[in-house]
């Protein structure tokens, strides 16, 4: 037995001799950073050993600096414990966004009214049932049905009754003194409630992303959004990209079950928090809808995702799926709650994208529209007169600040806006404190301005002090420097930063940005070409995903990340996937449309596309 003590809380855990620290940490409920999912490749799962410092492994000597090793910093996934030890996991090495975050709420009822008609799959009907007597010996069920017919004035013979409900019926009806509310979902009576509860009819819509999971509570009587929360997908400690997660299900015993449990846990936490915040009862959530990328969709259902990622890239199924909460292990909803999974399009284009198409009504727009979801895996959808094309382009996480010298996610301490001119430099830091690093939107601003004033040339080369174009002030010019033999642009001097380390952009960072933006831009170009269209034909461009909300669009166009069209034609649509899932929750008609179009979206496979490399080379310069 080995005892591990976690700082700062002094929590203890006992593990077997030789157990991995990474697994111990996960067991303790702490979420370390990871890109590779514990393979010793990414070097992000750093921990500080205070006692019981282990010998560094080969991976550790490769991925950690000598100073770090001396200090006792180790990689959790590479450390096996044979002696009692004390471990500190520094905040920056935990995955950010641990907590549940409120999302900006929109008033659906207002926003969506024009584009759909409220037509929920759940209906509640309040009934005053005739009391029985010797003169009226109809069965309990018979009199409920009669009351229903009376109320709805239509024949409801098709309504079936599940046995669990019939079992409760006689007692419940009498306890309620024959005043009840029936719940009808999917054309079946699914519940019977005492008294008049007809105004308490809720559903939740979820968007399950690789990084973030969002959950929205909707009042199904009005279509109004009551609550909107998001939370980091707790699968993230098993790799921050889908490939690493798929890897995990393949190479780890119980890997699939572990990842399924993690996503369900995340959903449960969102449900619990929603219920607590709003005071509504779990039993009044009658249906949930789920949009997700295909990998997370499979993981949620417990379907092995490995065939998604290897050629010829196939999903287990694409169509929409209705199931009951009780079919998903340990999902904290009442067992009969209906779950509707929106259809997916392909292995790399999930129901989140379909939801985005539905939300933006791309299926029946006459105009040519383009939907871009900027993420680690960028997705691009094009519509022309109801015809749809889609591709997925793996840009990598550079715009999330990963793989960039001083990069970080858009959390507190990140420089998210930069304004650079020949004489001045201004920056904005999230939370307004001292900066710790720079996030994607800040990088885009900086690169765009450096291009404009000539500190970076079209090929992406960073100027040296000597090559600095004339007209640039000394103040700015002196920021062109050399660090470890590489040209850099110094953004913040070390004495102005939170951690006393200077913040800069290196030549290599610029190359990473070029690769990422070229991957997205090539995807867009190829899709346009498939449809025999050009950039100028784009009538409206929807920019989805949280990243899209934060970037300066003009700058994103300047660095050729987004197509060069008038700003007026670009709309920020935020979490279109979540909104699409809400629509599907509120409207059966929307579901039908989704079921009708998922098969018809033409998926363009880029990895075998003859023009990809050519487009990539053409879009990689600025």
């Amino acid at each position: 037995m080995v005892r591990v003590t976690f700082l700062p809380n002094n929590e203890n855990i006992e593990i077997a001799n030789g157990d991995s620290l990474w697994e111990t940490i996960l067991k303790a409920g702490i979420r370390p950073n990871s890109i590779c999912g514990g393979k010793g490749i990414c070097g992000r799962c750093k921990v500080l050993l205070k006692e019981g410092i282990t010998e560094p492994t080969v991976q550790e000597t490769e991925l950690l600096s000598p100073e770090e090793i001396k200090k006792g910093i180790r990689l959790a996934c590479q450390t096996r414990l044979y002696n009692n030890c004390t471990v500190e996991i520094l905040p920056e090495n935990r995955t950010g966004l641990q907590d549940i975050f409120p999302l900006n709420r929109v008033d659906n009822a207002k926003d969506f009214k024009s584009s759909f008609w409220l037509d929920a799959n759940v209906e509640k009907i309040f009934l005053t049932v005739d009391k029985p007597s010797l003169l009226d010996q109809r069965s309990d069920w018979g009199r409920i049905k009669e009351a229903l017919v009376r109320k709805k004035e239509k024949n409801l013979n098709y309504l079936q009754t599940p046995l669990p409900l019939l079992k409760k019926l006689p007692v419940l009806l009498r306890e309620a003194d024959f005043i009840v509310t029936v719940v009808i979902c999917n054309g079946k009576i699914t519940a019977l409630e005492k008294g008049d509860t007809a105004d308490k009819v809720f559903g939740m819509a979820f968007d399950l992303g690789t990084t973030t999971v969002a959950g929205y509570l909707i009042d199904l009587k009005t279509g109004k959004e009551v609550s909107a929360l998001s939370k980091t997908n707790s699968q993230i400690s098993y790799g921050d990209n889908i490939i690493s997660r798929i890897d995990f299900t393949q190479n780890k015993e119980n890997g699939l079950a572990i990842l399924q449990k993690e996503i369900i846990n995340t959903i449960n936490e969102l449900i619990n928090e929603t219920i607590q915040n709003t005071g509504i009862s779990r039993d009044n959530i009658y249906e949930i809808t789920i949009a997700a990328n295909t990998c997370i969709h499979h993981l949620f259902l417990g379907i092995i995702p490995i065939y998604l990622a290897s050629s010829p890239f196939l999903a287990a199924f694409n169509r929409g799926l209705s199931l009951k909460a009780k079919e998903i292990p340990a999902l904290y909803l009442s067992p009969e709650t209906n779950i509707y999974m929106l259809p997916t399009i392909s292995a790399f284009i999930g129901s989140d994208v379909l939801a985005g198409i539905l939300f933006n009504g791309m299926n029946d727009r006459e105009e040519i529209t383009l939907l871009i979801d900027l993420g680690t895996n960028g997705e691009v959808i094009l519509s022309k007169n109801g015809e749809l094309w889609a591709c997925s382009t793996a840009a990598g996480p550079a715009f999330e600040g990963i793989g960039i010298s001083c990069g970080m996610r858009a959390v507190e301490g990140a420089i998210d806006r930069v304004k650079l001119s020949k004489n001045t430099i201004n920056r904005h830091v999230i939370g307004n404190g001292n900066p710790k690093g720079i996030c994607g939107s800040g990088i885009i601003d900086l690169v765009s301005d450096m291009l404009r004033i000539g500190l970076i040339d079209k090929s992406g080369r960073l100027m040296t002090k000597k090559e600095c174009p004339s007209g640039i002030s000394e103040q700015i010019k002196n920021r062109l420097d050399i660090k470890s033999g590489e040209n850099i642009f110094l953004l913040v001097k070390e004495n102005e930063t939170e951690e006393g380390k200077e913040i800069y952009l290196s030549q290599k960072d610029i190359r990473e940005i070029q690769v990422a933006k070229a991957a997205i831009a090539s995807g867009i170009k190829i899709l346009l070409r498939e449809a025999a269209l050009e950039t100028k034909d784009i009538g409206e461009l929807f920019l989805a995903g949280s990243f899209g909300n934060f970037i300066n669009i003009e700058n994103a166009i300047k660095i050729d990340l987004l197509p060069n069209i008038s700003l007026k034609r670009i709309s920020l649509v935020g979490n279109a996937a979540g909104k699409g899932a809400e629509l599907a929750l509120c409207s059966r008609r929307i579901r039908e449309i989704g079921e009708g179009i998922y098969k018809d979206v033409k998926y363009v496979e880029l990895s075998t596309h003859p023009n990809f490399s050519k487009e990539f080379m053409e879009t990689i310069s600025f």
């Binding site: 991976q59 080369r461 030549q507 190359r511 310069s621």
Partner: protein, 212 residues
């Protein structure tokens, strides 16, 4: 500046047409094809390689330079063949099974060719069997494998095992690369070499066959 230096310079600028002209001109100056190759084209590619490694230039510039190099080689190759000048070595190159990323691999190919290697490019999604068949057919000095996915890099080890069981492992050096690959991984699966970028790959390849 002599014409060989001009060739090197034109190559670095990616001026394919100018190269063709300059190579022809150099030939009329009674320079041997070998000299033009070594001190003109290869010299230019070397400089490109160093600049690429140091992030000073990027993919399009390397591509342009390689195009110029191939234009020069088109003129020289028939003459080199006539005079019986051999390539410095042979490489069988491919992206492993399940992986379709080839931009990095193609760059490695250009740099290897620009260093004087003959490269047999098997393309992408190359199975162990295909690697083995190509090794049997071309008898290369080096087998070079690329992988960009953490899920596919494991196939590198499969290829090495197949080489072993086919009794070919001792006949070739194995060099691997691609974004997720590390030196440690190379050691783990028993590859002879890991190179982080295309220019280093060419240098390492030369070192592996003890050519200098």
């Amino acid at each position: 500046m002599n014409n060989l230096e001009r060739i090197s310079e034109a190559l670095q600028k990616g001026e394919a047409e100018k190269i063709t002209e300059l190579v022809r001109l150099a030939l009329t100056e009674q320079r041997s094809p070998e000299e033009i190759l070594d001190n003109g084209l290869i010299e230019g590619m070397n400089i490109i390689g160093v600049k690429f490694k140091e992030h000073e230039i990027f993919l399009p510039e390397v591509l342009m330079a390689a195009r110029a190099m191939y234009a020069g080689l088109d003129v020289l190759n028939p003459l080199l063949a006539q005079t019986g000048v051999k390539k410095i070595g042979k490489v069988v190159l491919g992206t492993v099974k399940g992986d379709l990323h080839d931009i990095g691999k193609n760059l490695v190919k250009m740099m290897l060719e620009g260093t004087g290697f003959e490269v047999f490019d098997l393309g992408v999604d190359v199975s162990a069997d295909k690697f083995i068949a190509a090794v049997r057919e071309h008898q290369p000095d080096i087998v070079a494998m690329s992988a960009l996915l953490t899920t596919t890099m494991v196939f590198m080890s499969e290829v090495i095992n197949s080489l072993q069981s086919a009794d070919l492992r001792k006949k070739v050096k194995v060099i691997i690369g691609g974004a997720p690959v590390t030196q440690h991984y190379a050691d783990q699966i028993g590859a002879d070499c890991y190179s982080p970028d295309a220019a280093t790959a060419a240098e390492d390849a030369k070192r592996l066959i003890k050519y200098s």
